[in-house]
């Protein structure tokens, strides 16, 4: 198990490096510089600024410098918020985004897996078809449509929940953003769970378990759930990525001062070090979470572990 984990960790390093280099090159290939929209600067001042931020160096050299800083956890200074480093800015904004993302993910897993399992057990019934119809809708409607509809209904019409972030305090302001963010994932996980649960319920060992008179609940909980979760677990990687990108949109719509909103500001401001920093941070996060998923996979499937 330890060996397996170690191999996974080592395997993740090149992926991460590749992502960083690509992001770096892409940001540098973008037209315009961070200081372009300010008033025109005298050539020598511009050169000074360029030197201060090492923009006068060759690209490979800049890249190496960046990677060097990265190893020490230094993502460089922000071009726009000049008193802060990128790391400080991320550190300040991320906890809120993390809370939002984690809650959405938890909701998606709990609701998605339950709905999918129930649908699988009731395969072909009215209930099954309802669940499937709902999840089809959930997958096909984009976040920027869902959010206003939810707001209109729950906040404006029923007035159960606050519509925006600043209009209230407390936990209730999290509800709509979390649901919005989770909805497509609930839908996807439900479909995935249903399909894989139907497959597992048809296997011989489930028949054995039923022949032992264990009862549906125990059969599902003890025998079927673990193997049925394997495809869902594999989907966790993409799901995490989807939640991260989704959070950028959702934070903007609901006005939540999280990392996503920061990211959009940074891009509009051409604060390239901040953009790059957030991209790298997200990439590292996704790689890390995928790593955890892989290790969990090994923990569930003994045959993977012993290989």
């Amino acid at each position: 198990m330890l060996r397996y984990t170690l191999l996974r960790v080592l395997g993740a390093i090149p992926t991460l490096l590749l992502v960083i280099v690509l992001a770096f090159l892409m940001v540098h290939a973008a037209p315009g510089g961070p200081f372009d929209d300010e008033r025109v600067l005298p050539a020598d001042v511009e050169a000074n600024i360029a030197r201060a931020y090492h923009l006068d160096e060759s690209l490979p050299k800049q890249l190496l410098r960046y990677l060097g800083g990265l190893v020490q956890g230094d993502l460089g200074p922000s071009y726009r918020y000049r008193d802060y480093t990128v790391s400080e800015l991320i550190g300040a904004a991320f906890p809120l985004s993390l809370k939002l993302g984690a809650m959405a993910m938890a909701l998606a897993i709990v609701v998605g897996v339950s709905a999918g399992t129930v649908a699988a057990l009731q395969q072909g019934t009215y209930l099954d078809r309802t669940v499937m119809a709902f999840s089809m809708t959930g997958i096909s409607i984009p976040v920027f449509v869902v959010a206003p509809v939810l707001v209109l209904f729950f906040a404006v019409k029923l007035q159960w929940l606050p519509a925006g972030w600043s209009s209230s305090t407390g936990a209730s302001r999290m509800v709509l953003p979390v649901i919005t963010l989770a909805l497509p994932q609930i839908a996807y996980i439900a479909r995935l769970t249903r399909a894989s649960m139907i497959d597992v319920l048809g296997r011989d060992f489930v028949r054995t378990a039923r022949a032992q008179g264990l009862g549906t609940l125990t059969v599902v909980r003890l025998h079927a759930l673990k193997p049925a979760m394997l495809p869902v677990l594999s989907y966790m990687g993409p799901a995490i990525a989807a939640i991260l990108t989704g959070s950028v949109v959702v934070e903007e719509i609901f006005g939540i001062p999280g990392l996503g909103q920061f990211f959009i500001r940074a891009a509009l401001n051409r604060d390239y070090t901040l953009v790059l920093g957030i991209v790298v941070f997200y990439a590292a996060l996704i790689v890390l979470l995928n790593l955890i998923v892989d290790v969990l996979y090994g923990a569930i499937d003994p045959r993977v572990r012993y290989r």
Binding site: D204, R210, R303
Partner: protein
């Protein structure tokens, strides 16, 4: 009153009845065999008894178990009967046990669910049960996952799970079909030993198993019960033509074959062939060790041995499908060298292989005609399409398939028909050597008999030489001229058919023969001749590899590998072959 009373049981899928008005009963403690060909409804009947049929099945009639009606009973009512009153063992323990769960856990849950034990007592009872089914080191195996156990051990666990709640009826649905004969003998013996007064419904296609273990038998044909009675009387005088057909088709290990001597010229010589595979890391797994064999035209040489004995690896190396580590093979004076793709066309044409699973060996997108014609396109490109069609029709005729099969796809064929198409595809090229790797193992008795007869016919007509790999010694006795016995990749005995079965020279050969159930209820089943299972090839025993399981073992066997020597026409690798008399 009977323990189980089935009356007018019918099982339908849409309009077709797979079980039709079936009635029978089982008394307490009685053992009943349920026999029939594949697709006759045996397993469906078993599943119906436990309410495990799929939703689409519509069930009618009555199943009364100890006064409780089970047809249309609620899941809760069924759960009170399952395991507690009726236990079941399925065929393939790899599939039937949960691969994600430690076996102790799988057994525990039965006791917990049925409230048969509590607290620390639960694990104790599970371990006790594991000991009873013969798991050595049960305390450690308690924590094992199914894939860490051998096939035989898994089936023991399966049996433990069926018996742990002490049911009144045990159903075995082909419980030993996936196992080696030697392991089958152990499991059947164990079954008798530990079932006490539990009634037994044993489903099997093997009449030898029924003869040895069932007092009464039921014969199913296409979902209908055609014959029922005491096993001894049905074997002596079958009440129905179908029973007679099954009995006639059952291969008899206890009867000599009437094959004439093969007198053809030597065609294939295989000398000291070894095969090894890469196991984990750098370890080498030696699957075949210095096996030599020769073959005449018109001759059938059988290769037998338990699973993992290297039968398939051996022939694959000869065919160039896996690399030969050392040794050589000579066909018609020229060496067979290198992988099959690099061999000359004539050699590829003359040596043909047929696999066990006919359906997966045929391309599902091609019609029978193209399947059979395909290799002709490669090997005889000059042929006109008319001439090719004629050859195809002739080859199909040889295996008893008429013109009407030309346009069919593989899924439109039964298992037996598909295997015949595979044989026709091999025969159409006019091969000189045909290698059959368990080619009839998946077939029903009567179909197997037909296929074997047509192979024999092809041999008589064309002088075909056949290497016949099989785990079924009864079939081997009926059709082969000579027999090679492999154990852990080594040739332990090579002998003519008649002497091998009347006076085997190697203790392993004798054990294999003894393990085969005899389809004769008058003969009491022998004790399982071998304990344990084949050791790992990664860590083979010292000296004679068979010594840990041999009952004639001497001191020298543990340290010295026995040389292969000639003993009145037989080649034997055993230190004691000339001292012990293994005559049957």
């Amino acid at each position: 009153m009977s323990l189980l009373n089935v009356k007018d049981l019918s099982i339908r899928y849409q309009q077709t009845a797979v079980v039709d008005a079936l009635s029978f009963s089982i008394d307490r403690g009685e053992s009943v065999g349920l026999v029939g060909e594949s697709g006759s409804g045996k397993s469906q009947t078993a599943l119906a008894l436990l309410g495990l049929l799929p939703r689409q099945a519509s069930v009618s009639g009555s199943i009364r178990f100890d006064g409780t009606e089970l047809v249309a009973a609620s899941e809760e009512a069924l759960d009170r009967v399952r395991a507690r009153r009726i236990g079941i063992v399925f065929q393939d323990p790899m599939q039937a046990l949960n691969p994600y769960l430690r076996i102790g856990r799988q057994l525990r849950e039965i006791l917990v669910r049925h409230k048969l034990a509590r607290g620390a007592e639960i694990d104790e009872r599970v371990i006790e049960m594991l000991v009873r089914v013969g798991l050595s080191d049960a305390r450690r195996q308690f924590h094992a996952y199914p894939h860490q156990l051998s096939g035989g051990m898994r089936q023991r666990v399966m049996l433990a799970s069926a018996l742990i709640a002490e049911p009144d009826l045990l159903i075995g649905d082909e419980p030993t079909t996936a196992l080696d004969v030697t392991v089958q003998a152990q499991i059947l013996e164990l079954l008798e030993e530990i079932r006490d007064n539990t009634a037994l419904l044993l489903i099997t296609h093997d009449l030898g198993v029924v003869a040895g273990h069932c007092e009464r038998m039921l014969v199913l044909e296409k979902g209908r019960l055609v014959d029922v009675g005491a096993t001894t009387s049905l074997f002596a005088s079958p009440g129905h033509a179908h029973t007679r057909l099954l009995l006639d088709a059952a291969p008899r290990i206890d009867r000599a074959s009437a094959l004439p001597q093969a007198t053809g010229a030597s065609i294939l010589g295989i000398e000291a062939v070894s095969v090894s595979y890469k196991a984990f890391g750098n370890e080498q797994l030696r699957a075949v060790h210095d096996v030599s064999l020769s073959l005449r035209s018109g001759e059938t040489v059988a290769v037998v041995g338990e699973s993992g004995s290297g039968k398939s690896s051996f022939v694959r190396a000869v065919l160039g499908l896996v690399p030969m580590l050392s040794g050589r093979a000579v066909y018609a004076g020229a060496p067979l060298e290198g992988p099959v793709e690099r061999r000359v066309k004539a050699q590829r044409r003359d040596l043909q292989l047929i696999f066990q699973d006919p359906v997966s060996a045929l391309n599902p997108q091609m019609r029978v005609q193209s399947i059979v014609a395909e290799s002709l396109l490669v090997h005889e490109p000059g042929l006109s399409s008319q001439a090719r069609l004629e050859k195809v029709v002739e080859a199909l005729g040889q295996v008893g398939l008429g013109d009407e099969y030309l346009g069919r796809y593989p899924h439109e064929l039964s298992g037996g028909q598909a295997q015949r198409v595979a044989i026709a595809r091999a025969l159409v090229l006019g091969p000189k050597v045909l290698i059959c790797d368990e080619a009839v193992a998946a077939l029903d008795g009567s179909v197997r008999k037909q296929v074997l007869a047509l192979l024999r016919k092809a041999q008589e007509d064309t002088g075909l030489a056949i290497i016949f790999i099989s785990h079924d010694l009864a079939v081997v006795r009926a059709i082969s001229h000579r027999v090679a016995v492999l154990y852990m990749g080594r040739l332990v005995e090579l002998s003519d058919n008649a002497p091998l079965f009347s006076r085997p020279r190697h203790p392993y050969t004798r054990a294999l023969i003894d393990a085969v159930p005899v389809p004769n209820p008058v003969v009491a089943p022998k004790k399982a001749p071998l304990r344990g299972e084949v050791p790992s090839l990664l860590d083979p025993p010292s000296g004679c590899v068979f010594h840990p399981r041999c009952s004639y073992v001497k001191e020298i066997c543990k340290s010295m590998l026995p040389a292969t020597r000639d003993l009145q026409g037989a080649r034997v690798a055993c230190h004691c072959a000339d001292e012990i008399d293994l005559s049957l």
